[in-house]
Structure formats: structure tokens, C-alpha cells
């Protein structure tokens, strides 16, 4: 190759880089949204709804759906004062981590005013998206529940109409624990089990942030007895996450579980239905409690497009925005008034019952969310394997609460 050819390549690259640089900076949007939903097949319909209703031109950036990667990226964006992203979608873990950081703009004056706020679940708003200063930093995009799921075929087989209380729960678990199957299934991998520990603590009327409370110990003893005394749940599930749990539930290995979502996995496997796997009312132990979760839209404090951002947030917090999220993503509206407007089906009916008949709570999370969750999961696994006693578990759990809360 001649020398001139090399020069030609260098000049071409320089021009190309200049051109590419120009083409990117020329983009002009009112607002940039960092979303995990961009690869959803109905995302473009939802975006079209938003842009039509608000008149905003929105630049969308795909956020990683992998939680560790997303957390690193979002932390960097917010902590560096990067203003290139205005609105972000945060889950409960990230909202807990960032709500007191000052990186998120308060929304109570511009978006979640008292007339709108009254329709959102109180417990969730105060537990998850209200900072120590009392600022509300997010607009919940939907309401999800850590619901109680049962296999109707097993209920019928063992002669149970429903699981209404602790006694029913134990009796059904024992009855269904035959032929290598188990009555109860969990995902007790150390970063997942937190949801179930907290659920049982709630059902026993305890307080996850107070491990001197006897009800907490009772809950852990109950989980221990399920493994060792009644043998209604397998110790092998210490390695299971939701993928493994759902597969075993689909395969008939378990008779009842707690699970997020609306059963898409069971539908995909042709195992969903009132005669098969379906959502059921939470049993009442000492209380009938249930966890709710959400992904909230938050406003980056460093945003230079705050007016456009408020407009967007007012839309997603409004009736039209909630209904669009329901139509496009099957996300149950976080607003109680809008929830009553959507067409009834077995899921929406049960969600309505959950919101009316259960004590609805946001999950107990500390600012260093993942560290706290992992530590609690680790000592839980040790307790279930008899490496520490239940009393030692409670002592260590209390020390973690004091360390992380």
C-alpha cells in the first residue's frame, strides 16, 4: 500500500469522526428518559401515548435490566451530577439507596400534590419513596404484590377449599408433601430470601427492623420448622432463585409459593388458570399482610429540563398515564381510583382484594440495600443449616439492622 493511501485512510477517519460527532450532538429533545422497558414490544405505543398527551419529544435510553449493572450505572449518573438524563426509572432497592442522597428532586410541590397523593398507597409512599427530610422523590409506575399462589390441582387432591390461616397453611403443606413433592416452595438464595423472611415476619405481626420482637423469632422458627420439623419445604432451595422456584412450581414439585408478577411464567407453560396455578388471598396468621413493590419515575436533581420533566411526571402520575401503562405493559395502576376503572379479571379482582383486605406494606429496606439484604440472607441460610441457632440469628439480625438502618 502506498503512503498516500495511508494518509487517505487517516483523513477519511478524521472526517468520519467529525461527522459522527456532529450527528449525535445535533439531536434535539425536550427530555431524556432512562427506562428498563425499552425492549418491551409495546414500549413504542406507550411512548407514543406519552408524547401525544404531553407534546414532549422524548429521547429514550435503554437501561440495563441486570440489577448490578444498572445500579452501577445509575449511581455514576446521579452522583456525578450528569444532567444528560432527566427522568430515571428506579426499583425499590435503588429508591431506598438514593432517596436521602439529594440526587433526586422533590416532587410533592409540582407533581404529587395532596389531591393526587391521596390515591397512592400510604405505606409504600412513606416506606419507599419519602426521604428523611419528608420529600417525596418518585412517582410509582404501578403496584405489584408479592402474592400468594396455589396449585388448585393439589388443593382439590388433598381436599382443601382455600388456605385462610396458619393452620390451613401447615395442614396443606403437610398433606402436599408426598411422593418427593413439597407443600411449600421458596427461593432462599441469600439475596432473594429477604422477601420471604419479611413476609413471614409480617404475617406473624413482627417488625423486620426489630429483632428483639418475639414475633420475628416466631417467624424464623416457623420457617425452620417447615424444613426440619414438618419437612414441608426442601433445604436444597437455599440455592434457588425465582427461575428455579417457578420451574418447580410449574412442574408440580410445590403446592404453594409467594411470587411477584401476574403469572406470565405459568401462562407460558400452560399451567395458569383457576383449575391450575392461580393467585389466592393471603392467609391470615396473626395478621394478613402483603408486600407491594413498584418502579418509580424519579427526577434527576441535575436535570436542566425540569419543566418538561414535571410535565412528564404529571402525566405518568395521572389517570391517563396509569391507564396507558396498564394497556401497554399490564402494570396494575398504583392509584386506587384508577385501579377501579380497569376491566375486571381474576388478577385485578385479587389485587383489589389485596389492597382492601390486607395490610399493604413497602418492603423494609436500608440505604445500603444490597449489603443489608445479603447479610440477612447469609445468616438465614446458616440458621436453616443448623450452623447457628434461631436466637443467634435474631441477635445477629438486630446488629445488622443497627449497622445498616
Amino acid at each position: 500500500m502506498k503512503k498516500n493511501n495511508y494518509l487517505l485512510i487517516l483523513v477519511s477517519i478524521t472526517l468520519l469522526l467529525f461527522g459522527l460527532s456532529f450527528s449525535i450532538s445535533a439531536a434535539d429533545y425536550d427530555l431524556t428518559l432512562y427506562s428498563i422497558l425499552t425492549t418491551d414490544p409495546d414500549f413504542s405505543d406507550w411512548l407514543n401515548d406519552v408524547e401525544t398527551a404531553t407534546g414532549l419529544k422524548i429521547n429514550v435510553i435503554a437501561a440495563p435490566t441486570n440489577s448490578d449493572t444498572r445500579q452501577q450505572k445509575v449511581t455514576t449518573i446521579l452522583s456525578s451530577g450528569d444532567s444528560s438524563i432527566d427522568i430515571l426509572e428506579l426499583n425499590d432497592e435503588m429508591a431506598s439507596s438514593f432517596k436521602n442522597s439529594g440526587w433526586l428532586a422533590p416532587l410533592q410541590a409540582q407533581v404529587l400534590t395532596a389531591d393526587i397523593l391521596k390515591y397512592f398507597p400510604d405505606g409504600y409512599v412513606s416506606d419507599m419513596i419519602t426521604s428523611r427530610q419528608g420529600d417525596i422523590i418518585g412517582v410509582p409506575g404501578y403496584s405489584g404484590y408479592l402474592a400468594f399462589w396455589v396449585d388448585q390441582q393439589k388443593l382439590d387432591k388433598y381436599g382443601f377449599d382455600s388456605i385462610d390461616n396458619k393452620e390451613d397453611f401447615i395442614a396443606f403443606a403437610k398433606a402436599a408433601s408426598v411422593d418427593g413433592n413439597y407443600g411449600y416452595g421458596g427461593s432462599w438464595e441469600r439475596t432473594y430470601v429477604f422477601n420471604e423472611i419479611a413476609t413471614f415476619v409480617n404475617l406473624f405481626g413482627g417488625d423486620y427492623f426489630d429483632w428483639t420482637n418475639p414475633a420475628n423469632k416466631e417467624a424464623i422458627q416457623f420457617m425452620y420448622d417447615m424444613v426440619h420439623k414438618w419437612q414441608v419445604t426442601p433445604i436444597e432451595q437455599l440455592a434457588d432463585k425465582y427461575e428455579q422456584l417457578n420451574q418447580k412450581f410449574i412442574d408440580g414439585k410445590y403446592a404453594m409459593i409467594f411470587m411477584w408478577g401476574t403469572g406470565a411464567e405459568y401462562r407460558a407453560a400452560n399451567r395458569y388458570g383457576q383449575d391450575q396455578i392461580h393467585m389466592a388471598m393471603m392467609p391470615e396468621f396473626k395478621t394478613r399482610s402483603i408486600f407491594t413493590d413498584s418502579w418509580s419515575y424519579v427526577l434527576n436533581s441535575a436535570s436542566k429540563n425540569k419543566e418538561a420533566a414535571y410535565k412528564f411526571l404529571r402525566y405518568v402520575a395521572g389517570e391517563q398515564g396509569m391507564l396507558s401503562a396498564w394497556d401497554n405493559f399490564d402494570r396494575f395502576p398504583a392509584r386506587s381510583d384508577v385501579a377501579k376503572e380497569i376491566p375486571e379479571n381474576e388478577i385485578t379482582k385479587m389485587y383489589q382484594r389485596y389492597s382492601e383486605e390486607c395490610i399493604v406494606r413497602g418492603r423494609p429496606m436500608a440505604p445500603q440495600t444490597m449489603e443489608f439484604i445479603t447479610q440477612m440472607g447469609t445468616i438465614f441460610q446458616q440458621a436453616m443449616q443448623d450452623k447457628i441457632t434461631i436466637d443467634e440469628f435474631c441477635q445477629q439480625a438486630q446488629s445488622f439492622v443497627e449497622q445498616y438502618k
Binding site: 500500500m1 502506498k2 503512503k3 495511508y6 485512510i9 487517516l10 477517519i13 468520519l16 469522526l17 459522527l20 460527532s21 449525535i24 450532538s25 431524556t32 432512562y34 428498563i36 422497558l37 425499552t38 425492549t39 418491551d40 414490544p41 429521547n59 435510553i61 435503554a62 440495563p64 435490566t65 441486570n66 449493572t69 444498572r70 452501577q72 450505572k73 455514576t76 456525578s80 450528569d82 444528560s84 438524563i85 405489584g144 432473594y192 432463585k241 425465582y242 427461575e243 428455579q244 417457578n246 420451574q247 418447580k248 410449574i250 412442574d251 411470587m259 411477584w260 408478577g261 401476574t262 403469572g263 406470565a264 411464567e265 407460558a268 407453560a269 400452560n270 399451567r271 413493590d293 418502579w295
Partner: protein, 281 residues
């Protein structure tokens, strides 16, 4: 005592066993990713394990083609990798020649710095570099990403090319100089043609490194998206806490397929180049 024929036969059998074992260790994960990509989500974690799916489906690939904007990601990837390969190769040839043919304390220190930079994990420099890229308006731009990709591959490229240049007898260049060749003529007409196998090797290896690069596009870009980061942007199905392993597997295959094809086609050049370049430093 074993006869020599028997010894030869046993050695051959042993070699085959080792080769098959290594091949199995390498190929089985690829096979498993492929099988997962064509297995419906409701069968993915079945026990006992199905090594062939009961109901194979291409729905995951169809979903990805329709919904994740693959074409844009492929175009971005080609632009970034293409320019990175050209620029890094040119710069590395010049650097390698200088490090191989000239000797001074400054050059030796510079070479050590380049090698040392290979040892620094990306995450250590991530935050200051993120701030710097934003300050100089290179964040989320093609030039910015290309510069970072180039900086990623240059140490390895310089190291390999320097060893190649060291293996070219200097007497050839001296003969050319006696014949009246100037510096640039020596570089372009003498050294460069002799470096062609090495350039092919580093270009192929760098192509694979760039295609696999995950941290740079993830951390220093938002709007510009490449194939490697697409694996983290798949839709959450069912509930928001489960990983869509069927889609992840399909996306994994889309990413590794070009690498497999490249390595299969250029396997000889890669091995020859690395062996020759790694003989002595």
C-alpha cells in the same frame, strides 16, 4: 515392555482423550447456551435436565430481531470496531517500531507504562474518566468511544508487534539504507510488508476483544449502543425480578456467532501470529 507400535497407539489414544475432553469443556457451554436459546421459558429449568428441548422454538431470536434494535447496534459496533482497528494498528506499528529499534531510558519507561496500563482494571479509572469524558464533551460520542477502545487494545498490540519487529533482522533495513531508502521508505516498503502476518493477527485478535468489550460502551455511552451491551437490555418477563434466560441465551449466541466464525476462518493466522510474536521480548 510395550512395543513401539503399541506405545504409539496408546499415545495417540491419550492425545485424543485429552483433545476430546478439552473440546467438550469448551464446546459444551456453547451448546448449552444454544439449547437454552431455543427452549421455551417454561422448560428451561426442568429436572431432570433435557439436553434436547421438547418443544424447540426460534421465538426468542424472532423477538430479538423485532424488539431490541439489532441493526442499529450492529452498525454502531461496526463503525466503532472498524475505526478502532485501523487507528490502533497504525499507531501501534509506529510505536512498536520505535520501541524495537531505538533504545533510551525514556522509551523503556514509556514501554513499561504501556504494559502497566494493561494491568489496571477498568473499574479503577471509571469514575474519573467518566467525569473527564463529560468535561471534554466526548461522553456518549463515537470519537470518545473509539478513543477508549483504542486505548484498550494498544498495549497488547504494541507488545505483539514489537516482538515481531525485533525478529526482523536489522540488516535488511541497513541494506535498504545503503541503497538510498529514506526512513519512510524503509517503514512502508521494507518493514510493513514483513509485518503483514503480525498485523493480520493483531487485527483479528483486537476484533474479538472489541466485540467482547462490555465495560466501555456500558459506562461511557447512553445513546450509542453496541451488541455487547444489548445482553443487559432484554425485557423482564413475568415479574421484574426474574432474568429472561431464554432471551439472554439467544442474545449471547447472536454476539458470539461472529466471533466463532472469525476464529474458525482465521484460526491459523491467529495461532501463527501469537506464537511468532511471543517467542521473545
Amino acid at each position: 515392555m510395550l512395543k513401539s507400535k503399541q506405545k504409539l497407539f496408546l499415545t495417540g489414544v491419550f492425545k485424543w482423550i485429552i483433545a476430546l475432553l478439552v473440546a467438550f469443556l469448551i464446546l459444551f457451554p456453547l451448546y448449552w447456551i444454544f439449547i437454552s436459546s431455543i427452549t421455551p421459558s417454561g422448560e428451561l429449568f426442568q429436572r431432570p435436565i433435557n439436553y434436547l428441548p421438547e418443544n424447540p422454538t426460534l421465538s426468542n431470536y424472532i423477538f430479538l430481531l423485532k424488539n431490541v434494535g439489532l441493526m442499529n447496534k450492529i452498525i454502531s459496533t461496526v463503525i466503532i470496531i472498524g475505526i478502532t482497528l485501523i487507528v490502533s494498528t497504525i499507531v501501534s506499528i509506529m510505536a512498536a517500531y520505535a520501541f524495537a529499534r531505538y533504545n533510551s531510558l525514556g522509551l523503556n519507561i514509556a514501554f513499561l507504562f504501556i504494559l502497566f496500563s494493561m494491568l489496571i482494571p477498568n473499574v479503577v479509572t471509571a469514575r474519573p474518566l467518566y467525569d473527564f469524558m463529560r468535561k471534554v464533551d466526548l461522553y456518549d460520542t463515537y470519537p470518545g468511544l473509539i478513543i477508549l477502545y483504542i486505548s484498550q487494545v494498544i498495549p497488547f498490540t504494541v507488545l505483539i508487534l514489537r516482538n515481531f519487529v525485533n525478529n526482523i533482522p536489522i540488516s535488511i533495513e541497513e541494506a535498504a539504507a545503503i541503497d538510498g531508502a529514506n526512513f519512510f521508505q524503509m517503514i512502508f516498503n521494507i518493514v510493513l510488508p514483513l509485518l503483514k502476518p503480525a498485523i493480520a493477527t493483531v487485527a483479528i485478535t483486537n476484533f474479538i476483544i472489541c466485540l467482547n468489550e462490555f465495560f466501555i460502551p456500558l459506562f461511557y455511552a447512553n445513546n450509542i449502543q453496541v451488541l455487547s451491551t444489548a445482553i443487559t437490555q432484554l425485557p423482564l418477563q413475568g415479574n421484574m425480578y426474574s432474568v429472561p434466560w431464554d432471551l439472554v441465551s439467544a442474545m449471547g449466541w447472536i454476539i458470539i456467532l461472529p466471533i466463532i466464525i472469525f476464529v474458525a476462518v482465521f484460526e491459523k493466522q491467529i495461532m501463527d501470529g501469537i506464537m511468532a510474536g511471543g517467542v521473545k521480548a
